[in-house]
Amino acid sequence: MLARLIRGGQVDDGLAAAERALALDPNLAAAHAVKARILSESGRHEEAGAEIEVALRLDPESYEVNRAAAYLRFRQKRLPDAVRHFEKAQSLMETDVSSPNMLITCYTAMGDRESARRAAQITLARAQKTLAQDPSNGAAMGFCCNALALLGQAESARAG
C-alpha cells in the first residue's frame, strides 16, 4: 500500500511495471515477488501464491522473494510458513529490522515465548544499530519499543 504512487489521480501500484519486466524476462524472481506482494495486498492470495511459487523456484535465496513470501503467508494466517520465510529474510539481510519484528508477532501468536524473545533481541540490536546512525529514525524507535516491551522492559519501552 505504501509503495503506491498516485499519478494524475490514477493509482499505480507497480503491477504494470512488474508485468512489463516479466514480459521482457519471465525469469526475474524479484519481479514475480513484487507482483505477488501487490496481488497479496489486494487480497488476491491465490494468484499471489502462484507468483511466489515461481519466484521461490527461480531464486530461493533472494531476500525480496522471501520477504514477499513471508507477508503473503502471514496474511493467509499460515504462520509456520511465514516464520520460515521471515527467518530466511532476516538471515539474508542483517540490516533488516522489520522481519525480526514480524517474527515477534508470529511467535507470540504461536505461543512460542522463547523464540519471540530471541526475535525481540535481534530486533532491538538491529534497531539500536540503525538509531546509532540515524537518531531521529521514528520507525527504528518503534521497533525498539515493541522489542523492549516483549523483553519486559516496560519503562524503557514507554520512554524510548
Binding site: G138, A149, A157
Partner: protein, 47 residues
C-alpha cells in the same frame, strides 16, 4: 514511545503498533485507546 511519537506524531502505522504493544504486552488498554484516539483525530484532519 514518547520519543517516537514526538518525532512522527502522524505516523498511523506506528500508533497502531504501539497500541497493540500497550494492550498485549504492557497490560495498558487505556493507553492503547488513547493512542488510537489521537490517530483517529489526526486522520479526520487529513493526515
Amino acid at each position: 514511545m514518547s520519543r517516537a511519537l514526538l518525532i512522527e506524531p502522524d505516523n498511523a502505522n506506528m500508533r497502531y503498533n504501539f497500541a497493540c504493544t500497550l494492550a498485549s504486552q504492557l497490560n495498558d488498554p487505556d493507553g492503547a485507546i488513547e493512542i488510537l484516539g489521537r490517530c483517529s483525530s489526526a486522520s479526520r484532519s487529513g493526515c
